[in-house]
Symmetry: C2
Subunit: 280 residues, 2 copies
C-alpha cells in the first residue's frame, strides 16, 4: 500500500453504534498514524434508531450504498454487529456499483451476512475482524480497533490471524450467522477454505446444534478444514452438556469427515484477529 | 381404525423424560379408553441419563430402533423433546426395517428432526403433536396427552389442527429446528404444503432471523403458504424489537412471495394440535 492517507467510511447495518465511538476511534487513528492519519467518516446512520435497529431497513441499506459506491472511500468498516444485516443484504447487493468492488470491507458477527454476500459476488478485499465499537471493550479495546485500522490502512501482517497464509484460502464466521445462511442464495462457496468459527453467548447445546447444521451441509463438507475460534460467555446448560466447545467441534468434524485443524485466534473479544476471505 | 387394542412405544431421542410421566399417562389412557386401553410401553431409555441427554447417542438410537422395528407396536410416541435428535438421526434412519414404515410417529419440537427424516423417507403416518411429557403441563396436561392418544388410538378428527384437511398437504415445525435442517440432506420436501411454524423461548430478533432463513430457502419458497403457530415465552429483546411475531412472519412472507395464511393452533402448550405430515 502507498503512503497516501486512507479514507474509511463507517456504517452500522444491524444494531446502533454507541455515540462515544467516533471520538475514541479518531483519537486512536491520530496516535497510531500521526503523519498520515486516516480520515474516518461515521455515516449519520450509525446513530439512527428504529426499534431494534440503527435506522429502518431502507436507511441502513442506503447508508451502506452511500459509502460502498463512493469512489473517495478506500474502506467500508462496520460500526457494530448486533442483528439486522440479513434484512438489508438483498437491497445492498442489488445497489452496488463498480466503485464498491475496489474497497476493503471489515467486520464480523452479524455483519458476516454481508461479508458472505460480498465475497460470493467476487469482491476481493473482504475480511473478518474487529468493528469500530470494539474500541469500547474493556482492557484492550484500543488494540482491537487499532488492529482493524492496521489492516485497512497498511495491510499490516501482524493484524492477521497467525495461521493465515498466502497459499490457502480462509474464511471466518460466527457459527449462528453462518448456520442461518446455509441453504439460501447467500451461502458462500467455501470449497478448499480453512473455515474459522467463533461463537458468543450461546448455550453449549446450541453450539452443538449449530455445528451439526454446518457440518451436515454437503458444500461445507468440501472445506479444507475447520478451526475453532473462541466461544465466549457460554450460557448455562441445564443439565451440564458434558462436553466443551472443542470436544463438540471435534465430534462433528469426525462425524462429517471434515479435518479439525485446531484453534483459531478469533472471537467476540479484544484479541479478535483479521481473517481475509479468500487468499490474503 | 379397528377396535383392537393399540400398542404404543415411547422413546426419548433427546432430553430425559421425567419419571412421573408413565403412571400419569397410563391412568389417563385407562380413563379415556376403559374397554380398549392402549398398552403404553416406556422404553427404559426414556429415563437414562448421559449429561444433557436421555442416554448417550448409541443408547438413544438403539431405543428408537427397538420400538420402530418391532412389529408389535402400532405407534412410536416421543417422550420428550429438548435437544439431541440430530445426533442420532443418521443411525436411526440407517437402521430402520420394513416394520417401521407401518407405524404412527408423533412428537414435536426437537423431535422434528426425526419427523422430517421419516417423512422424507416416505413414511406415511408421521405427525406433529404433543409428547408424553406434555401431561405434566399445568392446566391441561391431560388434554394434551389425551389428544395425542386420540390420534394414535383412533385417529380422532377433533385432535387435528382445525385447518388440516384431506386435500392439502401439511407439515409443522419448530422454527429453529426447521432452520437447522435447511441445506442438509435432512431438509424435507415441502412443495405445496401448508407449513405451520411455532417457537418457544427465543428473543424476537431470533424469530425474525429464523424466518429470514426459512423464507430465503428456494425449496421452502415452493410451499403453499405459511401459518404461524404460537410463539410463547419470548425472551426480552434489548431494545424492544418493534414488531411482534405475526408482523415479523407477515414481513418475511411478503418479501419472499410466500402466502401468509394466518395463525395455526400449535405451540409449546397444552393446546398444541395434531398436524399430520402430508395428507391427513
Amino acid at each position: 500500500m502507498s503512503n497516501e492517507k486512507r479514507r474509511i467510511g463507517v456504517v452500522a447495518p444491524a444494531s446502533r453504534m454507541y455515540p462515544e465511538v467516533p471520538d475514541r476511534v479518531r483519537a486512536l487513528a491520530q496516535s497510531l498514524y500521526p503523519d498520515r492519519t486516516p480520515e474516518i467518516v461515521f455515516h449519520p446512520q450509525c446513530f439512527a434508531a428504529h426499534a431494534h435497529f440503527a435506522g429502518d431497513d431502507p436507511t441502513r441499506a442506503r447508508a451502506f450504498l452511500d459509502i460502498a459506491n463512493d469512489e473517495s472511500y478506500d474502506a467500508l468498516w462496520f460500526g457494530r454487529g448486533g442483528y439486522g444485516s440479513c434484512r438489508i443484504v438483498e437491497d445492498v447487493m442489488g445497489g452496488l456499483t463498480a466503485a464498491a468492488e475496489r474497497k476493503t470491507y471489515l467486520g464480523y458477527s452479524d455483519t458476516g451476512v454481508l461479508l458472505a454476500a460480498l465475497y460470493r459476488a467476487g469482491f476481493e478485499a473482504v475480511a473478518h475482524g474487529p468493528v469500530a465499537q470494539d474500541i469500547l471493550r474493556q482492557e484492550g479495546g484500543d488494540a482491537a480497533a487499532g488492529r482493524a485500522l492496521a489492516w485497512m490502512v497498511e495491510r499490516a501482517p501482524e493484524a492477521l490471524e497467525p495461521t493465515v497464509c498466502r497459499t490457502r484460502k480462509t474464511a471466518a464466521f460466527n457459527m449462528t450467522v453462518l448456520s442461518q445462511l446455509l441453504g439460501t442464495p447467500l451461502q458462500p462457496d467455501l470449497d478448499g477454505h480453512v473455515l474459522m468459527l467463533e461463537e458468543v453467548a450461546e448455550a453449549m447445546y446450541r453450539i452443538d446444534r449449530s455445528l451439526f447444521h454446518i457440518t451436515s451441509n454437503p458444500a461445507i463438507r468440501r472445506v479444507h478444514g475447520i478451526m475453532l475460534g473462541r466461544c465466549s460467555r457460554i450460557t448455562p446448560n441445564e443439565p451440564d452438556f458434558g462436553m466443551n466447545e472443542e470436544e463438540v467441534a471435534r465430534y462433528w468434524c469426525r462425524r462429517s469427515g471434515i479435518p479439525f485443524l485446531g484453534r483459531a485466534d478469533i472471537g467476540h473479544d479484544v484479541d479478535n484477529k483479521i481473517v481475509p476471505f479468500g487468499v490474503a
